[in-house]
């Protein structure tokens, strides 16, 4: 068994949220650059250039990429041979967020209750998903998720007879309904299968995969490429103002499901899909 002290978890989370909010992942920057080179609408090119310049300025000025520094989703893969010492995992994570948001001068965007709506003042609690894994490592991935894109996600329990075409139609519907609100160019995270909450979790996890990596299954990789093309043909464009860059990627994850079910969830990530993954 390997022991990990909660202090190390807090420090890791703190550094991860600070990095995530300031420095956009290189795969997304590269995809934005390629999109800007290919974009045919002059207005859209102007906006893409500003978005790219923003990624440089944020690092230079040590300032948040976007003022919506989000509610933090934390994905934890906890090796079975790890013993957490000195406190509780969730408390350690929340403490890391509190310190990181304070030191980073990030906006605190979390309210205590959906009805009372009092700002908690420190951007906690996080939304923590914890899975057990093999081995003695602890992997923590943070995703500060803004509401502009999160609010545009949808889930549908399709009938199995609707099949793959039903899934394709649903993806296009969600992106079309969202229009310019999720700050396109977007990343569409799609979860198919499992049950209701599993599909939603798969969709969120799909957003954690870099935009230049396709699903390892050939048929799904092809589906991702086909859907990216179809989404870009919608013409929504950067910020919904028209153009041929609506999405940078469509990432699809699947899971076994019930004979009578075909759940599909689409979770949209904005161009500021800020993720950092660290292994302890």
């Amino acid at each position: 068994m390997r022991q990990i002290d909660v202090k190390q978890i807090t420090q890791t989370v703190k550094e991860a949220v600070m990095q995530a909010n300031i420095s956009l992942p290189p795969d997304i920057i590269q995809a934005l650059q390629e999109a800007s080179d290919k974009e045919s609408s002059p207005s859209a090119r102007r906006f893409l250039k500003i978005i790219l310049e923003n990624t440089e300025l944020a690092v230079q000025e040590n300032m948040a990429l976007c003022q919506d520094t989000g509610m933090v989703v934390v994905d934890v893969e906890l090796g079975q041979e790890v013993i957490i010492q000195g406190g509780y995992l969730n408390e350690a994570i929340n403490l890391g967020i509190r310190e990181g948001y304070q030191q980073g001068f990030f906006r605190k965007s979390v309210v205590n209750d959906p009805f009372q709506r009092i700002n908690t003042g420190d951007n906690t609690p996080a939304i923590v998903h914890c899975n057990l894994a093999e081995g003695d490592k602890l992997r923590i991935t943070v995703l500060p998720k803004g509401a502009g894109s999160e609010n545009m996600g949808q889930l549908s329990m399709l009938k199995p007879a609707q099949g793959i075409n039903g899934v394709k139609d649903f993806i296009l519907k969600v992106v079309r309904d969202a229009g310019g609100n999720p700050c396109p160019p977007i990343i569409a995270g799609v979860g198919v299968g499992g049950n209701m909450e599993k599909a939603a979790l798969l969709a969120k996890r799909a957003l954690l995969r870099p935009v230049n990596i396709r699903n390892s299954r050939n048929d799904l990789a092809r589906l991702e490429e086909e859907m990216l093309k179809a989404v870009n043909e919608l013409g929504i464009g950067p910020q919904g103002m028209g153009g041929n860059t609506t999405a940078l990627a469509v990432n699809i994850e699947v899971y076994p499901t019930h004979i009578a079910s075909l759940p599909v969830a689409v979770n949209l990530g904005c161009h500021s899909t800020r993720r950092v993954s660290v292994e302890i």
């Binding site: 310049e53 923003n54 906006r107 502009g148 310019g180 919608l234």
Partner: protein, 183 residues
């Protein structure tokens, strides 16, 4: 590239067409949900607004706190649709331009046509870039609202596109195949 500077006259507004690229200069007011709610409540109670709104520009933003040595933190636009229920009253009182991101509802567009106002879209998510265009910030009302308080800002070369003009041409509806009114 057109330059816009408040206070705006009706002629300035009528010169703008959907799709025009503009750079906003000078004073703008920053407000989001809670400040809008307060302003509209004041008007409904028959009280005045904390500033003279005639010809002015409101930017829908709730910035990050200012890091040491900076006047403001990251300051990109928030989703304008949440301000739709408040906008028509402010437009009726003389508001001439709104800056935000995403589409507006038909009531807002009707008010823009009736009183002469434009809706400008800026780049969502470009908070660090837009913060650099903000040269001065002053809290003028509702300090208790924190990031939602009412601010007056001085901006320079603040990049926008005319998303909806005063004739009701709407860039967000265009992709869905709407006709353009060019009267």
């Amino acid at each position: 590239m057109k330059l816009l500077r408040a206070p705006l006259q009706i002629e300035d507004i009528m010169e703008l067409s959907m799709g025009d690229e503009v750079l906003v200069q000078g004073s703008i007011y920053a407000a989001r949900d809670a400040a809008h709610k307060n302003m509209v409540q004041s008007l409904e109670n028959g009280e005045g607004l904390p500033f003279d709104i005639e010809g002015q520009i409101i930017y829908y933003v709730g910035p990050c706190p200012a890091p040491p040595g900076k006047i403001i933190g990251s300051a990109g636009p928030t989703t304008s649709g949440r301000m739709d229920t408040y906008a028509h009253l402010l437009i009726a009182k003389g508001l001439k331009a709104m800056i935000g991101k995403g589409p507006r509802d038909q009531n807002v567009i009707e008010a823009m046509k009736k009183y002469g106002a434009v809706y400008l879209a800026t780049v969502g998510g470009a908070g660090a870039y837009l913060a650099r265009c903000i040269k001065d910030v002053e809290t003028i009302a509702y300090p208790e609202l924190g990031p939602e308080s009412l601010l007056k800002m001085e901006v320079q070369d603040f990049p926008c596109v005319v998303a909806i003009d005063a004739r009701g041409n709407d860039i967000y509806r265009l992709e869905k195949g709407a006709e353009v009114a060019d009267d």
